[in-house]
């Protein structure tokens, strides 16, 4: 399956800010993070199609996965 990955803030140091990625069916967020060699401890906010998700969430064809380090404002 192909998903779109979006990276933000410090995570943009590792890859492009947005790209498509081929992964095995039903891969988890964690599997994507491992595959991309991203620092898992630095990932604080995960969204799939704009909805909050966790590391063990399974991805589907066409999903947009957004990963953020801990950031805040107000």
């Amino acid at each position: 399956m192909t998903i779109t990955v979006k990276l933000f803030a410090t995570l943009r140091a590792y890859h492009d800010k947005i790209f498509e990625l081929a992964m095995p069916e039903a891969s988890t967020v964690e599997a994507v993070v491992t595959h991309l060699e991203l620092p898992a401890n630095d990932i604080a906010i995960i969204m799939i199609n704009g909805r909050g998700a966790k590391m063990d969430a399974k991805l589907e064809e066409g999903d947009v996965l957004a990963l953020f380090p801990p950031v805040g404002g107000g």
């Binding site: 410090t10 906010i45 909050g52 801990p70 950031v71 805040g72 404002g73």
Partner: protein
């Protein structure tokens, strides 16, 4: 000695005495709101002689506690008609605290139409006529330079800008920051209240003041150290805010579908990286010159969410360039050029208006056909014209509710006539409860539910669902009212929300300073009492639960991409203040 100073502008008389017994132990918002509720006639006209403007440093201001230099300013708001507390950085709070001034009140109204300067130093308070050079449209940046020259580079300055002189409902009070740039007590039109009392500027000179007395210095130092470590160790308070500023939220809210766009008709845009925090960081770094990625709005801030944003040649344009401003002009009003937004931000600081109210009013005016969508040049001109002001500038500076009314619109994003800021309550439900119920009118800082809904700091709540939101919005508003009373910047919350030791250190600092024994439960009670006092004022000013509602269009206009509406019932909303 703890002093309580009143300046009556009707008689130009100054009274200075000890802090009244009933206010002992209070500071910041607790003090300003109690005072306003005690002394301001709730039904008074906010620009009439019966309104009073009060400035109070927080409980910890003036000490070595990190981030403790925030000031509270209170009055009845001419924008909302409610009680108002505005919180700002700058130099005022620490100077007042060092001089032992717990609060400073401006009341009455002169019979003439001259503008005055109030000067406070260790010898007392004096009132003098404001020089012509800072009146009649002189921008705040220039006025600060003129006043620095006259009173000395180190003094603190509070200014009613040109918008305040004209008593426009979105006028803020502008405060000189450590580098003589500008921080603002932004929301609710308190600059118009200052202008209505013909006070152009307040100068505070703490030369000769002694350090703030601390009952148990050793205990204080130990607690301050733990507190500083809690802030610096947290990835948001310690690094994230310094690197990206609050503008980092553009991309997060956009991704979450909660970035209100095109006058609240969509929750996402596709040009977000034009002006995201990531882009701000990259541009400031690349342009160099005056640019600074991080900057503190007062001495002692170690989080440093502010920055200096330079132009293409590296020359300073603006500082304290906040997410809410960038969102409002960028996403809500469709101005796609980051520099254009920066110049408008500067112009708003210079004329002295609330950047949230103006940005949202501008987007509403665009829907109403008064300004072309996305036209940054037109907006810049209108903001500059607020110094005159031209009729169109007056209308926009009247705020979003007035613009909506004049344009015959129903889609007017306000609560209690104050513009809704940068988080769509349909897609981030927790913050909607804060907008609806805070005594301030729509205000994200009154109970920042974005934290647990989106940022996953302090809680983990689904922003699209109602579950847990009522309790959360209540707890956040209570906690915020307490923090606003300490003089602490609200962003310390990120460092202590998930760190009980850090939170305890905050309480320990207060205890060590005053030689008291507050517990966490006492702090909660303080927060609750502040909200109750504020609500009492509003009730006596004529506000009921029916005013605690979001604009109706949010109930029937779903917002993309999640296709959600605002679906809390009135009964559920009213539960927030059930304590």
């Amino acid at each position: 000695m703890e002093q309580f100073i009143r300046v009556d502008m009707t008689t130009q008389q100054v009274t200075s005495g000890p802090l009244p017994e009933k206010y002992v132990g209070l500071g910041g918002r607790a003090l300003t709101s109690n005072f306003v509720n005690d002394e301001v006639k709730p039904t008074c006209h906010a620009l009439g002689k019966n309104n009073k403007l009060i400035f109070a440093p927080g409980l910890l201001s003036g000490t070595s506690a990190p981030n403790s230099g925030r000031l509270s300013v209170g009055a009845k708001s001419p924008l909302t008609g409610t009680i108002k507390e505005c919180n700002t950085g700058g130099l005022f709070s620490q100077k007042m605290a060092k001089m032992g001034i717990k609060a400073f009140v401006v009341e009455g109204k002169p019979a003439d139409d001259k503008f005055y300067i109030i000067k406070i130093d260790m010898n007392g308070v004096s009132i003098e006529e404001a020089p012509e050079s800072i009146l009649g449209g002189c921008g705040n940046y220039e006025a600060i330079q003129i006043l620095n020259e006259k009173y000395g580079a180190k003094v603190g300055i509070a200014l009613a800008g040109p918008a305040g002189e004209h008593r426009l409902p979105s006028a803020n009070i502008s405060f000189k920051d450590p580098e003589s740039n500008i921080r603002s007590a932004g929301r609710g039109g308190l600059g118009a209240v200052m202008g209505s009392k013909n006070v152009k500027a307040i100068i505070i000179d703490d030369a000769g003041a002694k350090p703030v007395p601390v009952a148990d210095p050793e205990k204080f130092r130990a607690a301050a150290k733990i507190f500083a470590k809690a802030l610096l160790d947290h990835p948001v308070a310690g690094q994230g805010l310094a690197a990206y500023g609050t503008d980092v939220l553009v991309n997060i809210l956009n991704e979450a579908g909660g970035l209100p766009a095109h006058n609240f008709t969509a929750g996402r845009i596709d040009y977000n990286d034009n002006f995201s925090g990531e882009t701000m960081n990259a541009l400031i770094t690349e342009r160099g010159g005056d640019g600074k990625v991080s900057h503190g709005c007062h001495p002692g801030c170690i989080i440093r969410c502010s920055q200096w944003y330079p132009d293409k040649k590296g020359k300073y344009i603006t500082s304290g360039f906040e997410y809410e401003t960038v969102w409002g002009l960028g996403a809500d009003a469709g101005i796609k050029d980051f520099d254009a937004i920066a110049y408008i931000d500067r112009a708003m600081d210079d004329v002295g208006v609330d950047s949230i109210e103006i940005a949202v009013a501008v987007a509403t005016a665009m829907e109403g056909g008064l300004i072309p969508w996305g036209d940054g040049e037109a907006v810049l001109q209108i903001v500059k014209d607020m110094a005159k002001p031209t009729p169109l500038a007056r209308i926009i500076a009247g705020g979003c509710a007035i613009v909506g009314k004049l344009c015959g619109l129903y889609r007017v994003p306000v609560v209690k006539d104050q513009a809704i800021p940068a988080y769509d309550p349909r897609a981030v439900k927790g913050i909607g409860l804060t907008y609806a119920t805070t005594p301030m009118g729509a205000d994200h800082t009154a109970g920042y539910c974005i934290s647990g809904n989106i940022l996953k700091v302090g809680a983990d709540i689904d922003p699209l669902k109602k579950d847990g939101q009522i309790e959360y919005a209540r707890a956040m508003q209570i906690g915020t009212a307490a923090v606003d009373s300490t003089g602490m910047c609200l962003f310390v919350y990120f460092g202590i929300a998930d760190n009980p030791g850090g939170y305890q250190a905050l309480i320990d600092m207060i205890n060590a300073q005053y030689g008291i024994n507050l517990t966490a439960a006492d702090v909660d009670k303080l927060g609750e009492s502040v909200l109750k006092v504020e609500r009492d004022f509003n009730k006596r000013a004529g506000f009921t639960n029916a005013h605690d509602r979001l604009p109706e269009f949010m109930e029937y206009e779903p917002i993309e991409p999640h296709n959600v509406v605002w679906d809390f019932t009135p009964e559920e909303i009213d539960e927030v203040y059930n304590f």
